[in-house]
Amino acid sequence: MKTVALNIISSAKIYAPQKLENLDEKRLAPNMMMRRRLTRNSKVMLFLSDKCGFENGKIVYGSCFSELEETAKIANAVLEEGMLSPTSFQNSVYNTAPSYFSLINKDTDEIITISSGMKTSLDTLKTAALQALVSGEKVLCVCVECINIKNIEEINRCTKFLEAGVAVVLEIAKDESEAKEIELLHVEGIMDSLQDLMSVANMYENGIRKIKVEL
């Protein structure tokens, strides 16, 4: 198995017990029609990528539950034998958020979406490291969970924060000197699927700029 050293160039994180406010949507998605179609995950991803200063390039996006709100809308429409919204269906796929990012930023580069349960953010980081290694480019690694849907209390046993996300921009380091193993710097109450990347963002905030990741 292979380990690589990564430079962390920037990071951002955000979370809220219910709904995240002030995601700066009007500036980040100035086209009103486009903005109205954005899912919660898309809005959070746009916010985080902007905070990281990432406008264009390869993206590796991770989410365990992805577009839960759109999926719930579809399931309820089927149950009630109502009309299914084409927009809800197209917005229900796991790559919706980075796809909206690509539309808004005219980013024609590669997008990979990872959904590996509670180790989603670790696998997203590993995949972003691979993409950085193969391309020699900077890569946006971003994970988002938005599960703030009606009746979520029936099933939520894993988080105090119904909307949360974390992102880093990374590149391959020229050497492994002073590269740190990922420390467990979790944010209590955040869904486990985000915690590994949350730890990397916290390491960055603590001044650590180089980490080691096994591919």
Partner: protein, 364 residues
């Protein structure tokens, strides 16, 4: 380090790999016209015969393990590509109980399938990818890159998707479902057929007498529209070009394009344009979705297996369901063509303008 596909097997509406290839060359579509999913209309669907997706995956993976040089998967990375994951089971619970209470969140998401296989076969590690209809093509993309950089010696790629109410009804809401067996690239095509499949490929860093080389991978984003492809076919062209460049091949070294070819008006028009702009009539092109239907997240893996078989048979299949070719500037044949097939481009395109192409070929 080069990558080789050394073993594979699948299960789809046409059966296993052997039965599927028999159907492909006989031009016998395995699709059915079904009235159970849509009350107000008939839908062409590709429905498998199986108990549940978990035991089916287990069976197909076991076959691949048995045919391989491995005794177990302890040194193998599992990469799953799926668009619905464990949705089937969760839908059933929600529709019958009208509540989320008894849904196990661990069985809802993509990793429900990979976690099951991880436990069942003790893989070194697993990860699951979900980029809609490019999911398992992207799993192959990552497998190749991981082997190329010597991170792994063995990667098992699994593409798996079962039929769900939400996908069939969702595609119906988008008005892209055909009520008949689909007819890719035909002037009278009227949409796609949703289908299901499990397809498994073992990618390794050494070749055998029976290997097919995974030579190149490429991916792009349209950055145009969530469901409609770029009308100038720029994204599709980019992913094919990138894959061919990655394979260190020239355009004239490609013999066949196994198209995404869903038989929707938009996809086939744009994909035909992409092939026309890139190759003209110099390559054979067709879509085997006329036999299998669109197996969504599993499609990339299914069509990679079909491509391996086409190379081994030296026989490019005819386009099933074709009467009148829409774009006359590409080479879609109504009859199978016996020839040496050196290299194949297999395309997968998805919602969000996500494009992935892979190049498979005779080992060098």
């Amino acid at each position: 380090m080069k990558s080789y596909i050394n073993n594979y097997e699948l299960w789809c509406n046409a059966g296993d790999t052997k039965s599927l290839m028999k159907a492909v060359y006989a031009k016998e579509s395995a699709l059915v016209e079904d009235t159970t999913f849509l009350k107000e209309a008939t839908a062409g669907l590709g429905i498998m015969k199986y108990d549940d997706i978990y035991s089916l995956m287990s069976e197909v993976v076991s076959k691949v393990l048995k045919s391989s040089n491995l005794t177990d998967f302890k040194n193998t990375l599992l990469i799953l590509g799926s668009s619905v994951g464990g949705m089937q089971e969760c839908e059933d619970i929600f529709y019958s109980q009208k509540s989320y209470k008894n849904i196990d969140p661990n069985k809802y998401s993509m990793n429900a399938l990979s976690d099951y296989l991880l436990k069942e076969f003790s893989f070194y590690d697993s990860r699951s990818i979900s980029t809609a209809c490019t999911s398992s093509a992207n799993a192959l993309l990552l497998a190749k890159r991981l082997i190329n950089v010597k991170a792994y010696e063995n990667v098992l790629v699994v593409g798996a998707d079962g039929l769900c109410n939400s996908t069939v009804l969702g595609f119906h809401a988008l008005s892209v479902l055909s009520d008949k067996k689909c007819r890719p690239f035909d002037t009278k095509r009227n949409g796609m057929n949703v289908a299901e499949a499990v397809a498994v490929l073992l990618v390794q860093n050494f070749k055998t007498n029976d290997s097919v080389e995974l030579k190149g991978v490429g991916a792009s984003s349209d950055a145009y529209h969530m469901t409609n492809p770029n009308p100038e076919a720029l994204g599709a062209i980019d992913s094919m070009k990138d894959a061919i460049k990655d394979a260190n091949l020239e355009l004239n070294e490609i013999d066949y394009v196994n198209a995404h070819g869903t038989a929707t008006l938009a996809n086939d028009k744009v994909e035909a344009l992409a092939v026309e702009k890139l190759f003209g009539k110099s390559v054979h092109v067709n879509s085997t979705k006329a036999i299998t239907g669109h197996t969504l997240g599993a499609a990339g893996a299914v069509e990679a297996i079909i491509s391996c078989e086409v190379i081994k048979h030296g026989l490019v299949p005819a386009q099933t369901g074709l009467e009148t070719l829409d774009n006359k500037n590409i080479n879609v044949s109504k009859e199978s063509v016996k020839m040496e097939v050196r290299n194949i481009v297999s395309n997968s395109f998805a919602f969000g303008g996500n494009n992935t192409s892979i190049v498979l070929g005779v080992c060098t």
